[in-house]
């Protein structure tokens, strides 16, 4: 399997902080030129780029609201022009949550989470498959969640989106497997990032490992799945959750 990072570049959405930022750094360490996607955290995204560059890597911040149907072309176009090669690695990491119990969840809270966490990932995947099919190689990793696999009261929208993302992962994976493209998901559990700062610490007691995971631990899994060595892994869901979904 030829060296993917030399043939293409990578895009990580939601990479200004948390799992996305850690993933961007991990991919850059593997030699990928990385698009650090962000919506509004420009300073944070630039900080990630600076950190990658000071470690000898290549990166650029790329802004978009991924719920905009034009966003995929804009993001991919920017990276293709900047690096002179196609995006052959896509990490659909950007995600939002807007929690409430099912009987009181609003239409808006439902739709916002579906749009960002599922529909945007579909559109970005659709756009990514175009150059990947032509190149006969590619890597897509979707950042799902333990909540897409196991019930978690108060997150029906997030759970539905993440479960949908897992189904999309499997379906698309088998469609394009013979083109040398792998599509996988990671399903993080409780990870110590901004997204989980409001979480009741008592919930951590249910985690067999008795601790939250780190963004770097999730990024290491994404890094493996995007590597040349993982070419026979596709349609898989890798839980990174200290045993929570087991």
């Amino acid at each position: 399997m030829p060296d993917l990072p030399s043939q293409g570049c990578a895009l990580v959405t939601g990479a200004s902080r948390g799992i996305g930022a850690a993933t961007a750094k991990a991919l850059a360490a593997d030699g990928w030129a990385v698009g650090v996607g962000y919506r509004s955290g420009e300073d944070e995204a630039q900080a990630v780029v600076s950190e990658i560059e000071s470690d000898g890597g290549t990166a650029m911040a790329v802004q978009a609201d991924i719920t905009d149907p034009e966003a995929p072309d804009a993001l991919f176009g920017a990276l293709e022009r900047a690096y002179g090669r196609p995006v052959l690695c896509l990490v659909n990491n950007a995600g939002v949550a807007d929690d409430d119990l099912t009987p009181s969840l609003s239409d808006e809270a439902w739709q916002t989470v579906i749009d960002t966490d599922l529909t945007a990932a579909f559109r970005l995947t659709r756009r990514a498959l175009r150059p990947m099919m032509r190149a006969r190689s590619g890597r897509i990793v979707n950042v799902a969640s333990v909540v897409g696999l196991r019930a978690n009261p108060g997150q029906p929208n997030y759970a539905a989106a993440k479960a949908g993302l897992i189904a999309l992962t499997r379906n698309a994976a088998v469609e394009v497997a013979r083109r040398g493209i792998t599509i996988n998901a990671v399903a993080p559990g409780w990870i110590d990032t901004e997204m989980t700062h409001g979480v009741d610490q008592a919930l951590l007691e249910r985690v067999p490992a008795r601790r939250a995971g780190t963004a770097e631990e999730v990024a290491a899994c994404v890094r493996f799945l995007t590597s040349d060595q993982a070419g026979y892994v596709t349609g898989a869901v890798l839980s990174v959750d200290g045993g929570l979904a087991a």
Partner: protein
């Protein structure tokens, strides 16, 4: 953009050959089924056609195409 049937035919045959079949088997009358060309291959062919000739082939267009000649004729018709 006007294209000749010969140009389109040559490009279609070249593209189909990249999906696996022996180029010598790819004739106007050959069916996609005979050539083991499936729907994913046709999606990729449609992308090539769109990029090079500006012709958009949707799912419903592709369903009716049975032979290489069908595809070539449709592309030439839409490009003309």
């Amino acid at each position: 953009m006007s294209v000749t049937t010969e140009q389109v035919e040559s490009r279609v045959i070249e593209t189909l050959a990249s999906f696996g079949p022996d180029q010598s088997q790819i004739t106007r009358s050959a069916t996609f089924e005979e050539l083991d060309i499936d729907s994913l291959d046709l999606v990729e062919l449609a992308q090539v056609v769109e990029e090079e000739y500006g012709v958009v082939l949707k799912g419903e267009d592709m369903k009716d195409l049975k032979t290489v000649g069908d595809a070539v004729d449709l592309i030439v018709e839409r490009a003309g």
